[in-house]
Structures are given as structure tokens and as C-alpha cells.
């Protein structure tokens, strides 16, 4: 029967589109931004049912004048904030140098954090030694803010003779157990649920450590995200479930993964999870919300879902060109500003920082990064100098090398 003969209208498929494409004028009028200080701070043992509206707002501390305001302010000292600024500036300088190194052919691939530095740098400071992050590829601030060696990071990026991972992993897929940084997979979302398992293990053993899971807006569409929320919710695991919403999943705008849900944070509501949304470009807000969730987990009150609202200023990686899918000036129009500039301005308002000292710090940090780079390059880069041996390739597949691998190593003649 012809469909026109029925009483039903033909169905149509709806494919979401971003507000603007290349050539258009950037428009973030759909991002509703409350005033800094406007969102209340509940007690950490608040009933998740009573704070559902936090999934639809944005917790902010720094206002336009660079002042820290509202109930989430006041947690960090001048020294801690100056250190936070230094971490973010270091990460930014590190990224700039490594991005250039990739363009110079010293490595195959790189991913930078530009615009997202506050999230991983501030979050790290809310954790304690022994806690474990299950990061994605854009949380190297967790390492920088915990004092991990930049030389070791660069050796990993270069896959050189001092690469802690012996050349086995793509650049930036770091691993450091000592710094609470789980080996990055490179597959998306798989580690979100592993963090829940790690946290469950800590609870099974009556330990005091907690875990932090990390995922991007795009990867929340993976079934592992759903599995993680189910398990975290069921067993009340001491885990913080972090979603970094930087608006773009390579070329795909966040609306493709978000669908009809109001926000990514709102995904947690159906699981009965406290679900908070925070200004990801506000170092103080990120720290305050992380601290709240950490305390909740530590007090055995269970998991918290946090959505960091931010913007990926750079390309996804060195393998894509954002001007092909979004307006070139979109990042300038991003209404939450730049995390480094915002913290800098706040420190100036506090009277402990100045433009001159900032410039001076930039130069000092760059010197430190360049010195680390020189040292790392003395151990080789991907295509030049010393590198991990081919013999190493066969090691570490198992604790003990099985006969078939021994035979293959002989065949390889290494």
C-alpha cells in the first residue's frame, strides 16, 4: 500500500547541526551562563534528588572583574593559586613546544590542551597521593600539576631511548602509577568503567583511596559510559566521573552525542548520581567542585558526575584542521574565556601578581620547557638518534615470554 494512502504523514530523520559552520558568525547564544557565584553549594552529603538542578546550571567562581565570588569561592591560598597558574602556563608552553616538534618531524602525532588547562591542573590538586586517575588524551595537566618529569613526558612523546613506555605507545599516551595516572588506552570510553572497578576494589579492601574517570563529550555515547554509570550507581563506588565537554569531538559538534538531553551532566540524573556542571575555564570553580566530589567519595557517599563546560581551542590532534568544520574565530567568541588569563587577572586583583611578573614567568617557564626538551632530544627523537630496541618489542606481552614469542624474536633476528 502506498504510504500516501494512509492517514500518517511520512517520517523524516532528524540530524542535528551545529549553530554555525565555517564562513558563519560564531554564535554561543545557546550556552546559558549564570553569573559567577550564583549557583548554591550544597552539603557534600546532600540527597542527589535535592540537587538535580545543578546538572542544568554552571558553577562559576571568577566573575568578569577577576573576583572570586559566591559559595564555591575561598578554598585556595595565594600560593596555591600562583602554583596553579604556573601549572597551566607550563602545560601550555609544553604543548606549544611539542606541537612544534611534531611539525618538525620529531614525532608522529600530538594532542594539545589549549583552552582546557584548568580542568586537569585544578582537579589534580583536589586528589591525594594514592588516588588513581583513568585519563583520556587531554589531561596531561594531571601529570604536570603532580610534578611528573617533563623530560620523561617528552621522551614518551619522542618514543626515544629513554621513553618510559619503550616506544610501545602513541605519543601522549602516558602512564605513571606513582603519579596516579593510569595507562592511557587511546580507545575511547573503555577506561571510564575501569575507574569504577578500581574504586570498587578500594571499597572491597576497605582502603581510603578513590578513583577518577575521564571522558569527552563525544565518547559519552559509547556503551562503556552507560556501563560505568550503572556500576557506579549500583555499588556506590568511590569514583568521580568526569566529562570534559569541549564542544567538539574531532569534527562532530557535541549535539550529536548529547541528542535530546539538556546537558551531559543530566545523564547522571537517571542513575541517581549527584550531577554537577562547572565552568571548565575557571580554575577556582573546577577545584571547588572537584574537592566537593572528592570529599563525597572519601566519605563513602558514592560517585559524583561532573561536566566541565569548556572549549577546545586547538585542533583535535595534529591530524585535523578545525577550519574545515567550524568558524576560525569561534574560539574568540567562546563566552567562558581563557583559563590562564582569567586566573592571571584574578591574581592581579588579589594583589599578588602583575602583567610584568606574568611576562617574566612566561619567559622562565619557556626556558624550563626548552631545557627539558633539549635533554629529551639528547636521548633521541622518533626518527633520529637513540631509540628503543627491536628486541624490546617482544618483552612485556606476558609476565613470562611464551615459547611462540621466543621463537618469533629469534626469527626477527633481534
Amino acid at each position: 500500500m502506498n504510504s500516501n494512502m494512509t492517514s500518517h504523514q511520512p517520517l523524516t530523520l532528524q540530524v542535528p547541526e551545529p549553530a554555525v559552520r565555517p564562513g558563519g558568525t560564531p554564535d554561543f547564544s545557546n550556552v546559558k551562563i549564570p553569573k559567577a557565584g550564583a549557583v548554591p553549594r550544597p552539603e557534600v552529603d546532600a540527597d542527589p534528588e535535592s540537587i538535580r538542578d545543578l546538572a542544568y546550571s554552571i558553577i562559576r567562581v571568577l566573575n568578569r572583574n577577576g573576583e572570586a565570588v559566591g559559595p564555591w569561592a575561598g578554598l585556595l591560598s595565594d600560593e596555591e593559586l600562583l602554583e596553579g597558574l604556573r601549572h597551566m602556563m607550563t602545560l601550555r608552553a609544553f604543548d606549544a613546544r611539542m606541537l612544534m616538534a611534531q611539525r618538525q618531524g620529531k614525532t608522529s602525532f600530538y594532542m594539545q590542551h589549549l583552552g582546557e588547562e584548568a580542568i586537569s591542573c585544578a582537579f589534580r590538586k583536589a586528589l591525594s597521593p594514592g588516588d588513581m586517575n583513568f585519563p583520556t588524551y587531554r589531561q596531561a595537566g594531571l601529570l604536570i600539576a603532580d610534578g611528573y618529569s617533563m623530560v620523561d613526558m617528552m621522551c614518551q612523546v619522542y618514543s626515544n631511548s629513554r621513553d618510559p613506555l619503550k616506544g610501545r605507545q602513541l605519543p601522549i599516551m602516558y602512564s605513571s602509577k606513582d603519579h596516579g595516572f593510569f595507562t592511557i588506552s587511546g580507545n575511547l570510553a573503555t577506561q571510564f568503567v575501569q575507574a569504577v572497578g578500581w574504586a570498587m576494589a578500594s571499597a572491597i579492601k576497605n582502603d581510603t583511596k578513590i578513583a577518577a574517570a575521564w571522558i569527552g563529550d563525544g565518547s559519552t555515547a559509547e556503551s562503556d559510559f552507560h556501563a560505568a554509570l550503572v556500576f557506579a550507581s549500583t555499588y556506590k563506588a568511590p569514583v568521580i566521573l568526569n566529562i570534559v565537554n569541549n564542544q567538539w569531538a574531532i569534527s562532530t559538534f557535541q549535539g550529536i552525542a548529547r541528542g535530546g538531553s539538556g546537558t551531559f551532566a543530566a545523564r547522571g540524573l537517571g542513575f541517581g548520581l549527584p550531577s554537577l556542571r562547572v565552568d571548565g575555564n575557571d580554575y577556582l570553580a573546577v577545584y571547588a567542585v572537584a574537592k566537593w566530589a572528592v570529599e563525597r567519595a572519601r566519605r563513602n557517599l558514592g560517585p559524583t558526575l561532573i561536566e566541565y563546560v569548556t572549549y577546545r581551542v586547538g585542533a583535535h590532534s595534529t591530524s585535523d584542521d578545525p577550519s574545515a568544520y567550524r568558524p576560525k574565530t569561534e574560539s574568540d567568541a567562546w563566552p567562558l574565556g581563557d583559563p590562564v588569563i582569567r586566573l592571571k587577572n584574578h591574581l592581579i586583583v588579589r594583589g599578588v601578581w602583575s602583567e610584568e611578573r606574568h611576562k617574566q614567568a612566561e619567559a622562565e617557564i619557556l626556558d624550563t620547557v626548552i631545557a627539558a626538551q633539549k635533554e629529551a632530544e639528547s636521548y633521541g627523537t622518533l626518527h633520529a638518534g637513540a631509540k628503543p630496541s627491536a628486541r624490546d618489542m617482544f618483552e612485556g606481552v606476558y609476565a613470562e615470554m611464551p615459547p611462540h614469542l621466543r621463537k618469533q624474536r629469534q626469527q626477527a633476528g633481534v
Partner: protein, 337 residues
Amino acid sequence: MARMTMVEAIRDAMDVMMGRDDGVVVFGEDVGYFGGVFRSTQGLQQKYGKTRCFDTPISEAGIVGTAIGMAAYGLKPCVEIQFADYMYPAYDQIVSEAARLRYRSNGEFTCPLVVRMPTGGGIFGGQTHSQSPEALFTHVSGLKTIVPSNPYDAKGLLIAAIEDPDPVIFLEPKRLYNGPFDGHHDRPVTPWSKHDLSEVPSGYFTVPLGKATVVREGSAMTVLAYGTMVYVAQAAAAETDIDAEIIDLRTLLPLDMDTIAASVRKTGRCVIVHEATLTSGFGAELAALVQEACFFHLEAPIARVAGWDTPYPHAQEWDYFPGPARVGRALVETMEG
């Protein structure tokens, strides 16, 4: 020593290890209060408490994903996927994560994890309760894959698997749970109590991974089998009166090539049998390895008997299953070849 079924032996292995090591945790769908749909975990929650043995949501990716996190923390999870046919949602976690943690982190993080899965057909389970996916695991570097065929081995191998520092896939031929099934589906079931290998030591013992065993000595040919097919091969050899040497591989990876090659060099003939589909099955790997190691000793082409390359059917289960008649024909043809 006690007489045990395969289910009882598997449960006993977990019981022994949970008693010895409080890092051993057991979980999966229906595994806790109820004790598993095949009863393999019965009583463990009552004995060790519900933080050591518990029910999970129906999410294989969640079960294996959380188990990987626990293993990285330092526990020794032994999880159950209710049927091997249900493991596909967990395959990414097994292949991309469990198998590679040690390698990609240069040993900083490891994954001492056991994933138990009932495998194989013979219970009218249709296409979603009958599959034998072992080749999907042996193809993955970083995994070990085990298929026990009797209560003694099941207990000893499972204890060894739980103690192993790397992820182990433990495939339990479900048709063997309650007896050594030889493929004669129209005959009365033989219970384990009448089989020597149902005598299982109490307490702790291991059967080492990576070691095959000769279950029937012979000089005319070598039959390579594992799981249910060990008994089918024995029935076929008896019924064709061929002096076949039958090897139970027990561990598919790492494979005991020494035992295999010594036997084929002695007999000059080799038949490989498995229940899984033929094409790209583990038999293909075995055939390649045997010809590499024993080419100048072979007097006939290596033969494979396997499940047909179709989904596992329901009504036609016994037309699909490579029973003693089909295996017997391959033995006869290989003797003539």
C-alpha cells in the same frame, strides 16, 4: 580426594582460592545469591560475603571493565560471562584493555584477571548459547586461553589461571559440566562419577598452563582435541578401531607444541577436531604449526573436523555437531590417505 562433577570442581577451585587470597573476587550475572545459572558459584557468597562474590547488572562490558580496574588495583577478579556467546560486548575490554595493560604501560599496570565462560553446544541452546569462540581469543596477543575437559584439570587449571599474573580466558565446555559426553546424544548420559578424572584432590593443587596431555596412546595417527571433542575423538577411535594417539591440548595459548610435534613425528598422521566453525578456526593454526614442525614426517594430509561454517542451529544441533561418526570418517580417510 573426592568425586566431583566439572561444575563442582570449578566451584571448588574458586572456593580454595577465595580462602587462600582475600584479593580473589568472583562476580557476574546471577553469580551471587543464586550461585550462577550453572551453579558454578553456589555457596560462595554465603561463605565469603557479598563483597567477595556478588551479582552484577547485565553488562558484560561492565563486568570485564570493572574487573580490569580491580585487577589494576591489585585484586584477582575471577568473573563469569554467563555464556561465551554473550561476551561480545566485553570483547573490546578484553582485547584492547586487559590483554595490553602490561605491554603498553611497560609493566606499571598489569591485569591478573580470569574470565570464565561456558562454551560449546550440545544442550539445544541455539545460536546464542552454543558458540565456541576460542579462536577469537587465541588471535589476541596478551591473552592465555584454556579449555579444560575434566574435573581434575578444570580445578587445577582454574587455580593456576587465578594465580597467573596475566589475563586468562577460561572456556568451560558446558556439555561436560555433568559428564564426559562423547557425542552420542541418543545414549544415556555417563556421569562423572564413573570417570577416573572425577577424582579430584581436596584443597590446593595446580595443573600448569601450557601443557597438553596424551589421553590415549597410539601409533597410527595423532588426534588433536580439546574440551568436549576429547571424548568424541576417543569414541571415534574406539569405533573405527584405529590406533590413534589422542592429545588433549588443555591450554590453547601458550600451546604445548613439544607434545604435539613429538606425537605427530611418531605417528606421521594428524587429525584436528574442534566444535567451533572451521574457517579461521583454531584448527587452522594447529594445521599450520604441525606442517611447519613435522612436514617430513607426514604421510597424509592433515585433516580438520569442525563445526560447519553456519550459525549454530537449534533443531539441527546433531547435524551440526562434529560427532563420532564424522570424526571417525576423518580418521579412516586419514589412514587411507
